[in-house]
């Protein structure tokens, strides 16, 4: 699996060491850092498809990153329409692609 983590940064320095948690994307374990958003954790793992549209089934992914649009909505622990760009990860969280309206 790809890892898009920025481990060291010229301005910000090395990435802070944070407690690791595991979220399950479509049942598949994805390692995440405590405090980050679901969208961040999935992006880190190279996952881009967050939901599909109701009428045409087209894929959508993280877009605005500030809770304004609805493109990153997923089914989180069974709850639909969760804006993953403003939702922090929790250990053991189940995250599923939202197909259409849920």
């Amino acid at each position: 699996m790809s890892d898009l983590s920025i481990k060291d940064h010229p301005v910000l320095g090395p990435a802070p060491v944070r407690r690791r948690v595991t979220v399950y994307y479509e049942g598949r374990p994805v390692e995440a850092a405590e405090g980050e958003t679901v969208a961040s954790a999935l992006t880190r793992a190279g996952i881009k498809v967050f939901r599909t549209t109701e009428k045409t089934g087209e894929p959508r992914g993280l877009y605005c990153g500030m809770g304004r649009c609805s493109d990153c909505m997923m089914v989180v622990d069974g709850e639909p329409n969760v804006r993953t760009c403003v939702t922090p990860v929790r250990d053991g969280m189940r995250v599923e692609i939202q197909h259409g309206l849920a």
């Binding site: 060291d8 940064h9 010229p10 301005v11 910000l12 320095g13």
Partner: protein, 170 residues
């Protein structure tokens, strides 16, 4: 295509010639001097405060282009890391041995190491010639903007502005 920093991101000959922060050729030939490539009216003045010699004046309004007093400037390079636009370098064409040095700001990782041979690059990021790294320093407590000094053939001193970004070690 129209020339100039607003069209290409590269200042034109005319813009540089008219820029009050660019030292004269005669001054550059005498030794280390700041080269302030600030050719637009930007509301910004930290370079003025940064200079211990009082060689840089922005004044009022703040959007004035910084004026370099090339006779006061000693080429210490304190201004290099203080420029928010990363537009200041220090050029020294009087090192001898057919060489010149350039102090320039660098905000990428990995950093070059002293003694490394790197590719000096021009304003378009194109490789110009090999250069040797003489110093890597951070001024004024800000680790984010490093100032790197490289040494390269004097002939290329008018073209070299930076180095090619180093590829991360795998």
């Amino acid at each position: 295509m129209k020339e100039g920093i607003a069209y290409s991101g590269v200042p034109s000959e005319e813009e540089l010639a008219a820029c009050p922060g660019v030292p004269s050729r005669a001054r550059m030939a005498r030794g280390a001097v700041a080269y302030i490539e600030c050719v637009q009216c930007i509301p910004c003045n930290p370079c003025q405060q940064a200079c211990p010699q009082g060689a840089i004046t922005v004044g009022t309004p703040m959007t004035n282009m910084p004026v370099l007093d090339e006779n006061k400037c000693v080429g210490c390079g304190r201004c290099v890391s203080k420029c928010s636009g990363l537009a200041i370098t220090v050029i020294n064409k009087a090192c001898g041995g057919g060489l010149a040095t350039l102090d320039f700001p660098y905000e990428y990782l990995p950093l070059p190491k002293v003694g490394d041979t790197v590719e000096a690059a021009d304003r378009l990021g194109q490789a110009v010639c090999p250069a040797r790294v003489l110093a890597v320093r951070s001024d004024g407590g800000d680790e984010g903007t490093r100032v790197i000094r490289i040494e390269f053939p004097l002939d290329e001193a008018d073209r070299v502005r930076t180095i090619r970004r180093l590829k991360p070690e795998v």
